[in-house]
Amino acid sequence: MSERLSVRKTYKLYIGGAFPRSESGRSYVVTGAKGEFLANASKASRKDVRDAVTAARKAFPGWSSATAYNRGQILYRIAEMLEGRRAQFVSEVAEADGVSGKKAGELVDAAVDRLVWYAGWSDKISSLRGSANPVAGPYFNLSTPEPTGVVGVVAPPMGPLFGLVSVIAPVIVTGNTCVVIASERAPLPSITLAEVLATSDLPGGVVNILTGSAGEMAPWLAGHMDVNGLDLTGADAELAQKCEELAAENLKRVLRPNGKTDWAADPGTGRMTAFLETKTVWHPIGI
């Protein structure tokens, strides 16, 4: 009998809950930390960006109007599913970052913990950011946080899983939907994460993941008139400046962290509050 051929995984994009190849038909070679061949990944184009934004916009009304409790439960569910595929993530992170299995295991655990941490915030962020404002009149005056809309995220090039989870979770937990440009250097864990998302009750389109060149895609995302926020964590200084200029045209909310982010540190609420709007309601007292 002939030797069995192993079945290799095709790494594709994640748009609107489906896994399409890039519209452009392009792919690029992904190598490990020591330069060895790992896989071919899809190289998304501007039209994939366009399709992803359309999918994210379509998912926004449903996701933003889901109860905070429900969103939290789904984030917990993502953490559960991620935990269930721990071994796969450990080996992918080890290959991508060239770290030991033990270190990779710690990074995957940290990613799961980060998800759980943000899941807990889902029904608490409004207590933190909302307020009952005293006004000079017979009115209740209440401010509550609302999601900004569709957020473009340039994921950090380092930390292919932990960093990725740390930028996606704060955006979606408050009800935003997002288009994520994964690490160009190490995109494989992001697509495996997409498989986790697709099986976690997360509605299709809430998170869309594109692999390829950030330099090519990010400006299209920044200039897109239907994108409301932009997280430039993973963009280098030159790209970040270009994107910020493009994003100014339609007054996007832009998050551009100063210097290098230490993912292991307490993340605080900054990433969640960066993509929140405030709605204030006046209501007459006594009616």
Partner: protein, 309 residues
């Protein structure tokens, strides 16, 4: 085969059933093949402007109000108020009781006012009522009348009834142009679409239109292809040009451009004119404007910056 002059069911049947049958698989494949043409950059720009100038901006809801019609008509005259280079659309299409309202807003802008008539969308009423319906719309100032054929009569083979009804409505139209809605979604076969197209043209229709928009499927590419072939062949035989209007289900710029390709490749460039080809739609206009803005500014446009309708 001669064109029937005296109208009897027998002669109409002999003629219509003598038309060559439509190869369903062939028509589907041809339409799908033409749908893959890639129209980019300057050609796309031209196609978008042409498509905008061919739109019959339509609102046919039970919930239509005078305000909604006025807002739509204002949009028809200036589709994008921030960009004066955007052409106006071809016409607005409303129910007969709202024609006067539409007429008032479009004025002398060149945008035509079309009105559906003849117990739209079902067409289930007596000829007297249908004629009165048409006369009312024309009296209110409609330039074009969109009538529906009696599908029940057509499907049961009573071609004379359909023929005479179209003639009577044409007479009631006077100066107004008559578009004949075949409601292809209810005609079951492409052969029937071809026969209904010929019947409508023989009876004097100025335009043949696919659908009311109330029945699915509506304006599919293959059905439009069959109708375009019919108007082409009709001109070859009779020397009279008849227009085509696909309506319903055209939502994206891509859909609209596919239609234009189909017109050019089937009927020919003579039909690439708002006088001879129209797109019955409402939501497609915003998509056309968004694509146009993308070509102008180089960035993707968002629906937040266009009117809701």
């Amino acid at each position: 085969m001669s064109i029937p002059t005296a109208s009897s069911n027998a002669s109409l049947r002999a003629f219509l059933h003598g038309l060559p049958g439509v190869d369903r698989v062939g028509a589907d494949a041809r339409a799908a093949g033409l749908g893959t043409r890639s129209i980019k950059t300057t050609a796309k720009r031209q196609a978008i402007d042409m498509a905008i100038s061919m739109v019959d901006l339509t609102t046919l809801e039970g919930a239509d109000t005078r305000g909604k019609v006025r807002a739509m008509c204002a949009k028809a005259v200036h589709p994008d108020p921030t960009d004066p280079t955007v052409p106006r659309v071809a016409a607005v299409c409303v129910y007969p009781d709202l024609v006067a309202e539409a007429r008032d807003v479009v004025g002398s802008s060149g945008v035509k006012v079309a009105s559906v008539a003849t117990a739209f969308p079902s067409g289930r009423s007596s000829l007297e009522v249908k004629v009165a319906d048409t006369a009312m719309a024309v009296a209110a100032g409609a330039d074009e009348i969109d009538m529906v054929i009696d599908r029940g009569a057509f499907l049961s083979g009573d071609y004379v009834k359909v023929f005479e009804e179209i003639q009577a409505i044409k007479e009631a139209c006077g100066e107004a142009h008559l578009k004949v809605i075949l409601e292809t979604g209810e005609l079951a076969t492409y052969d029937n679409v071809r026969r209904a197209s010929w019947l409508a043209m023989l009876a004097g229709g100025d335009f043949i239109k696919t659908s009311t928009g109330k029945v699915q499927p509506a304006a599919t590419l293959p059905v439009t292809l069959v109708m375009l072939e019919a108007v082409r062949d009709f001109r070859d035989r009779e020397g009279r040009m008849v227009g085509v209007k696909p309506a319903g289900g055209i939502r994206t710029t891509k859909d609209a451009i596919k239609m234009l390709v189909l017109v050019n490749e089937t009927a020919g460039p003579d039909w690439l004119d708002p006088d001879w080809f129209r797109l019955g739609a409402s939501s497609v206009l915003n998509d056309l404007l968004m694509q146009r803005q993308k070509l102008t500014t180089g960035r993707y446009a968002g629906p937040d910056y266009f009117t809701l309708d």
